[in-house]
């Protein structure tokens, strides 16, 4: 019962059934630094992660 989160070229496996926010906390990714998307749609971080799905995280921090 897992799902996949991606961020740039990293891939993380997380348990399904938890919220996006708890997954981010577990992975130590600051929620402020990413936007979560599901099939190209933006989702808020209270969404529950479904079994087998892919959540693409888009990094929003730019530097320079």
């Amino acid at each position: 019962m897992t799902a996949t989160l991606t961020l740039r070229n990293q891939e993380f496996e997380v348990k399904s059934g938890m919220t996006v926010r708890s997954a981010l906390e577990k992975l130590e990714i600051p929620p402020e630094s990413v936007i979560a998307t599901r099939e190209g749609e933006l989702v808020t971080d209270d969404e529950l992660i479904e079994d087998g799905e892919l959540i693409k995280l888009i990094s929003v921090i730019s530097g320079g």
């Binding site: 936007i35 808020t44 209270d46």
Partner: protein, 309 residues
């Protein structure tokens, strides 16, 4: 989570405002807020001719898009830095700007540093004594000179950049850690043209979080360069942003308050204008732009440095 306006499914939640919005209402909200800030901070008016500095990134393209939607006359300025980084960073970012301009029938001014001045930014940097370090200092001096020149030559009333709240708060954090009073004094959403020949500058997106400008670009379907400039890796500004985001996670609104209360404190006179220091005002003998140097400005001196063997 539900949209506060229509009860539909929210696309974004802004904790610091206790506001969640759906795509449609978010795409209305951002331009409306921008207009509010343009007026509140007296940035420019509908008659003004605006030049938007675009890099191909999310913030500057989002800014251009918002201004056009709001009915402003805004042209784009792209500066080709000649940075490759193994993936053609500069060429790629130009393509995103050009594509956006073409799609919307907008005017994009392109200044290629290499073609115009004979050396790209990395080449200019190689000519300096500290040439082995990152080219960011050289890049900053060059961009400022070129932006001001393009705005002045094109008779624009104001030059706008896509700086967001995270950018501004990170700079403020750095300036405060080092108590750089002169920089603190000058930091703000509007930089008046203090000297003849200098163009007025404004940052209409300065109250939006970086996350919000990214969400806007994504929801509007604006294609932007996702890769960073290769020299941004390890930049202090990114480190400061990370620290501020840690504060923000625990205390929503922390970075916004940090910046807005700084502006208020400044308005109340926390940082006094230095009494004696009004630097002599000269005109660069080469490019004709204002400078504190007695002859040529820093950028022109840079361009004219001999090329190393």
């Amino acid at each position: 989570m539900k949209c506060k306006k229509c009860g539909g499914k929210a696309a974004i939640n802004m904790r610091q405002h206790k506001l969640a919005l759906c795509k449609e209402h978010y795409l209305d909200w951002i331009p409306a807020q921008t207009q509010r800030f343009i007026e509140k901070y007296k940035m420019f008016s509908p008659e003004d001719k605006i030049l938007v500095a675009v890099s191909g990134g999310k913030d500057s393209l989002a800014l251009w898009d918002i201004l056009i939607q709001l009915g402003y006359q805004a042209d784009g300025l792209y500066i080709g830095l000649g940075i490759d980084g193994g993936f053609g960073y500069s060429d790629k970012s130009l393509r995103f700007c050009q594509r956006y301009a073409d799609r919307h029938g907008l005017n994009l001014i392109v200044v290629d540093v290499g073609k115009t001045y004979g050396s790209t930014i990395p080449q200019l940097n190689d000519k300096t004594p500290r040439g082995k370090e990152k080219p960011c200092a050289v890049c900053g001096v060059s961009k400022r000179n070129i932006m001001n020149r393009a705005a002045r030559d094109g008779n624009y009333d104001v030059l706008v950049t896509g700086h967001n709240l995270d950018d501004e708060a990170a700079v403020l954090f750095g300036n405060t850690l080092n108590w750089l009073d002169r920089y603190l004094l000058r930091q703000g959403p509007v930089l008046e043209a203090e000297r003849p020949g200098l163009v007025r500058k404004a940052k209409p997106l300065f109250r939006f979080y970086e996350r919000e400008t990214a969400a806007y670009a994504l929801l509007r379907g604006i294609e932007y360069i996702y890769d960073e400039c290769p020299h941004a890796v390890g930049a202090k500004s990114i480190y400061y942003k990370e620290i501020l985001n840690q504060l923000e996670t625990k205390r929503p609104g922390a970075k916004l308050i940090f910046y807005l209360n700084f502006l208020k404190a400044k308005d109340r006179g926390l940082f006094a204008e230095p009494v004696i220091e009004s630097e002599a005002l000269n005109t660069c003998t080469s490019c004709g732009q204002p400078t504190t140097s007695p002859a040529k400005c820093a950028f022109c001196r840079l361009v004219e440095l001999p090329t190393p063997d």
